[in-house]
Every structure is written in structure tokens, then in C-alpha cells.
Subunit: 213 residues, 2 copies
Amino acid sequence: MAPSTVFVDVGVSLDGYLAGPNRGPRNPMGGSSTIIHQWIFETASFREHLGMPGGARSPDDAIVKAIFARAGAYVTGRHMFEEGEVSWPENAPFHAPVFVLTHTPREPWPRPGGTTFYFVTEGIESALEQAHAAAGGKDVRISGGAATIRQYIQAGHVEEITLHIAPVLLGGGIRLLDGLGAADLALEQVEVVASPLVTHVRYRVLPRSRPGA
Amino acid sequence: MAPSTVFVDVGVSLDGYLAGPNRGPRNPMGGSSTIIHQWIFETASFREHLGMPGGARSPDDAIVKAIFARAGAYVTGRHMFEEGEVSWPENAPFHAPVFVLTHTPREPWPRPGGTTFYFVTEGIESALEQAHAAAGGKDVRISGGAATIRQYIQAGHVEEITLHIAPVLLGGGIRLLDGLGAADLALEQVEVVASPLVTHVRYRVLPRSRPGA
């Protein structure tokens, strides 16, 4: 069986931020940064995923639906988990196994709706191996945050990146690509889909920037 | 007659830089940043504009052609002019009046092929007025560099911004949007065109971020 694809899929502002300047457990997205994600809140598939009614069946919706469908397991950093732990609904929005990078051992934490959080203290390689094994042949999504995504990029594990570029400026916060250069991440642009609220661009990570590949 | 549109049109890296880290008169684009512009060098219209043969008639080419056709006059900062003065061909690539912001008075400098550089010491408003008057009903392009573009954005004069987002990282250099926030620049995404080498996104600047409009 061909190994599944490791992908990153994040919304960013036009000035490159994935979270605003005042991020923390009580303010997971950092101030005004939810405006980056306005497009996704208006899609039917995202609302279904959270158990909410309404939303549109649009080109944006088709993209969200495909992202959820392909991900068989997730990897997240500790900060992202801690922010989500206090803000996600009980029926957490993954509906799949989620491997959380941490230094603190903890028993697996199953949630209603098919999400189980597994806490991995053995590092990023171990978390990725466990996610591959749990994904049932589907793809593995490195969810975030930015530092976790960069670690996986620099280790050469990320094969595909989709950015949802919103026409908004945050003016500060956490930049996804800060600290990375051309040697860390060489890309081929493979697909662009636009709607009035966002430009979706999918990139393949080229083998020359993936020493481990 | 409706006043002509003031627009910005720049190529940027995926990490938001319009020039690389080692920019200067002998290295106008700053190190490896010419890779941002690879797509434009391959278009027939850009090569014609520089008096060079070859190039493709592609969707990218149609975009370049339209940009050249709409600009009746240009405004540039002093640094951009000084960099260009030593690197542009004698037949400078504007073929239109160019208003250069400077503190040093200088006589107009006509070049073969229809470019004349006018040196404006009275500030950005004066340069824009002169450019409007010289544009013959066509649009005015604020060419750059980044600091000049930001000045015009913050003064509320820029009505439209096109970014050509290349799938490359520079990892350092000059960021177009640094120092700007949502209050300085509110955008509506109006058109997206993609080719394998670049994503072209055109934004309208919304009146709420244009106090002078």
C-alpha cells in the first residue's frame, strides 16, 4: 500500500499570519484573526463538522469537504491542543485520532463523535508514525500550530501545503513561514481555486527541500 | 472625465517579500529574489517592453500586457529610481512619464522609447497630481519600492492592488505589507488568475481604509 500523504492546510492573512497578536488559551485565534476564517464558517461542510445547521454548498464548501474526507489522523502541537481543549465543543471537530505532541504523559482521551486525543512524549517522528498507522490508509494532517508545522517541514515530512489566503491584514501575530527559507521549503504550485472571500492555493513540496524523503 | 485609477502591481514571494535581503544599487532585486519574477521574464509582452525577442503568449502574458496598457504614468521612490538608473537599459522599461520622489531637484531626464523621469521634491501628493495630469486619462501606477507604496496606501490614495504571488520563499528581505494593519488597508478580492508559476490576485481597496477618498 502506498503510504498516505502528509499535508498541512491552514488559513492565513494576506500578510502571512495564521493567528493574531493576542493569542492564548482564552483567545485561541488571537484577537481579530477569526476574520481570516470567515470563508470557512460560511460553508455547510464545516458547520456539519461542528454539528451546526446551515451554510452554503459553494466551491469553498467543496474544498472543506475534501480536506475533512482525506484526513485519517491529525498531529497537533501542545499549545494548539491546550487552546482547543477549552474552546472546542465536547464533540471535538476532528472525528478521527489526534496525536498531541507533549512532554507530559497522559492517558488517551476519547471524545463523543469519534475524536480520540493521544498524547505523544517521544517526539515528532513517533507522533507521525502513530498517525500513519492510525489513518487507515488516509492522509495525515499536521494541524498546527505554526511551530509544529515548521518542525515537520524542516524535518522533510510535509508533502503538500494548502494555504487559504484571506484578503485581510492582521498587522501582527504568528507567521506560518517565519524562519524558513528556500532551502527548507521548495514548492510547486499545483492548484488554485478562488472565491470572493479567499484564494485557496495548493502546493506540492519538492523533494529537494525534503532531506528525509 | 472620471479620474483615473491609482494602482499598485507587485510580485511577492509566498512569505511576503518583494525584494530579498541583500538589496542595493548593484543588486536591485536583493539576492535570489529574481526567482519571484521568473513568470514575467517568460512572457512575450515583458520581453517586448524591454526590446527583447521571444517569450510566451500565455495567461500570464495577457496580465502583463494589460498592466502596461493601463498605466499612463508612474510614481517611484528615490531608492527604486537609483537602483533602476544603474540597471535599467537605456531604453527604460516604462515608455511613459515617471515621477520620482526625491529631496534633490534635478532637470527632467528623457530617455529613448518614451520614458521621461521627472523629479518631484514637493512630496507624494504633488507627485500623484502630476502623474494624474500626465497620464492622459489612463491609470497611475505606484511602482515602488515598498516604503513608497506604503506611504500612498496610508494616505488613502491607492485604489487597487495586484499581487503576483510566486511559490517561493525568500526567508528575508523587504516585506510589502510590514507595518500596515486592517485599519490601513481593507481589501475586497476581485479577481484571481493562476498559472503554474504564479497566482495573480487583484484587490480593490475599500473606502473605509481610505480616509482621503
